[in-house]
């Protein structure tokens, strides 16, 4: 019994990463960043507005949060739809109450299906990101390259058309990618994407079609991950957010501006028994000194002027 020789060959064992997507860099060794008005912590809240198709194909896997029952899974379809009908309006009230400036990541198909909701967000003037076509249109290794090129192009161009916004940000459904996804995004005018969860600050991500900015958007602190994947209590999610806020504010004193990036879902936190935890989180964070609530583009603008 033995493994093939390649198992004891290490062709990429050298300085830096084992791929060419970005340069190796430790956060603690980068020059400090200053946010506008001397803020120490940029608060970026991203709301996902998602469409989970009832006829889910699950290719190459069933998306977390998607259908799990035999067709027609009305249970999960309607629970997710709840977020876009009810939960989101609780979110908007809470944001306004605490003067938060969020961003909204739309599945393009949802923007097409719910013009009222899209219009409501457009009128607020908040930044919109593209979250792919829908939650069942996954980008994945081994998918047909032309098919993915069409998917990226259609998702972005249609959302631009519907929203009237330039749409420069992207989050892949399930944060999953193929080997071509980043370069397709760059080729289609995307400036930043949020799939790689390997940093707490933005960094340049190289593609054959030019650089993207990789934006940090913690998965570990996401409402869905904490409460649905880990089954932590609502109170615990709140504590974790507050602890993260305190920690990053403290780190920022020594090391320069930091970002608290909260990725949330109206079908999760928009429930009546959870919305107060979002409100309490917003109340806590906005009561701290040195917090700057901003959209992703504003944060990247401030970072890019100093970092590059």
């Amino acid at each position: 019994m033995a493994l093939d020789k390649e198992h004891l060959n290490y062709p990429k064992r050298g300085y830096g990463m084992d791929h060419a997507h970005y340069a190796w860099s430790m956060l603690s060794q980068r020059p400090p960043i200053t946010w506008p008005n001397g803020a120490r912590l940029a608060l970026w809240i991203n709301v996902n507005l998602q469409f989970f198709p009832l006829d889910q194909q699950g290719k190459p896997f069933a998306v977390p949060g998607g259908m799990t029952m035999p067709y027609p899974d009305l249970r999960h379809f309607t629970l997710r739809d709840y977020g876009n009908r009810v939960g989101i309006y609780r979110f908007l009230k809470a944001f306004d109450q605490y003067s938060i400036k969020p961003t909204f990541a739309f599945n393009t198909e949802l923007a097409e299906r719910l013009p009222y909701l899209l219009q409501r967000i457009v009128e607020r003037g908040d930044e919109i990101l593209c979250h792919g076509w829908n939650m069942d249109s996954l980008h994945y290794g081994g998918m047909d390259a032309d098919e993915e090129a069409r998917l990226v192009e259609r998702s972005l161009s249609r959302l631009r058309e519907l929203s009237g916004q330039a749409i420069s940000g992207w989050i892949s459904p399930a944060r999953n990618e193929s080997e071509n996804t980043p370069q397709l995004l760059a080729a289609n005018g995307v400036r930043y994407f949020c799939d790689w969860v390997n940093d707490d600050m933005p960094y340049p991500f190289h593609t054959a079609q030019g650089d993207l900015v990789a934006m940090p958007l913690s998965n570990e602190l996401e409402d869905r991950f904490v409460m649905m994947n880990n089954l932590h209590s609502e109170q615990s999610w709140l504590e974790q957010v507050c602890d993260a806020c305190d920690f990053l504010l403290q780190e920022a004193e020594q090391s320069g501006g930091r970002i608290l990036a909260l990725n949330i879902h109206p079908w999760m936190l928009g429930q009546p028994h959870r919305i107060s935890k979002l409100e309490q989180a917003l109340a806590y964070i906005s009561s701290r000194e040195g917090v700057w609530s901003a959209g992703a583009t504003d944060i990247i603008d401030a970072w890019q002027q100093q970092a590059e």
Partner: protein
């Protein structure tokens, strides 16, 4: 295949000879940061998949990279504050990929022990010679990059063969005699060090490396809330400290900085460290120092007690 590994004999946790740590400490306390390199595109191993998704597995790869880019230096600040030297479970290819991290650890006089070359290369399916070569490569890397003789082993991704511990001990002897290859973190059967039976007669010891206190087991496998994890660490310590009055115990916190050093989790870890190191009679030490002290002072006595009990039963 064997029905039991045979590395140790049954040795009940009562009436053992008293284990006395330096300066009368009750607990030998050590922290083992895993500093790992996972490959984005490793060769496939038929026995175990490295990633759940087809290449590129962005979710799993990128969160582990977070530990290297962000997490380790955060934990260093915390460990510095409480006077803890880390005992690093090292994917030794990281010496090549990220020498900056190695330098920061070396500057703190931390211990480096082998956790294989990459955490995406598993022992499963290897021939004896292949596993021996992999282990030797990893131990030589540590010596080349840090000057340390590698004393301890934790198999990459906890992937073992029946011969893993023998090979590690033997390669250690070939490289540096009894200065290398004399303890393992791979066994979870005890709260005190125990002698390990090998095919060579080399004194070799299992040092407790608690999977229960391991942040990745707590957070990823058991999905524990951060503040509960902090409480578990304190409770674990309290009992080992209490029992350590009668006979010395070992407490280990194995960590992964893509988990414990996230902004929403580090506070719980820090509070536990503050609590533990705030006690007197705690020997804050490293894996190597525990193993060496045990071999020098308690190994023969333990072997004799175990063998007397075997004969009696």
């Amino acid at each position: 295949m064997k029905s039991a590994p045979g590395f140790y004999d049954y040795w009940p946790y009562e009436d053992r000879p008293k284990l006395e740590w330096p300066n009368g400490a009750r607990v030998a306390f050590w922290v083992a940061p895993n500093i790992e390199f996972y490959e984005l595109d490793p060769p496939g191993n038929a026995h175990r998949k490295a990633w759940p998704q087809p290449y590129p597995a962005v979710p799993g790869y990128s969160i582990r990279d977070y530990g290297n880019r962000v997490g380790h230096t955060r934990q260093m600040d915390v460990l510095d504050r409480y006077g803890v030297r880390g005992s690093i479970s090292l994917s030794t290819a990281l010496c090549d990929h990220h020498p900056e991290i190695i330098e920061l650890c070396a500057a703190r006089d931390w211990e480096f022990f082998s956790h294989g070359i990459y955490n995406t290369r598993y022992t499963y399916g290897m021939s004896e010679q292949q596993e021996r070569d992999m282990i030797r490569d990893s131990m030589e890397s540590i010596h080349k990059h840090t000057g340390q003789h590698c004393a301890g082993y934790l198999a990459p991704a906890l992937s073992h063969s029946e011969l893993t511990l023998d090979l590690f001990a033997e390669v250690g002897s070939e490289l540096a005699g009894n200065e290398a290859g004399f303890y393992t973190c791979d066994l979870f059967h005890d709260d005190q060090p125990t002698p390990i039976n090998l095919r060579s007669a080399k004194p070799f010891v299992s040092v407790p490396y608690s999977l229960e206190m391991n942040d990745t087991i707590a957070y990823v496998v058991n999905k524990i809330e951060p503040r509960r994890y902090g409480q578990m660490l304190k409770d674990n310590f309290d009992r080992l400290y209490q029992e350590g009055e009668d006979s010395g115990t070992v407490m280990c916190i194995p960590t992964h900085n893509y988990q414990v050093s996230c902004p929403h989790r580090l506070r719980a870890f820090e509070e536990a460290l503050e609590y533990i190191t705030g006690h007197s009679d705690v020997w804050v030490t490293t894996g190597r120092e525990i193993a060496q002290y045990y071999i020098d002072n308690h190994y023969a006595q333990s072997v004799a007690d175990i063998s007397a009990r075997q004969e009696a039963s």
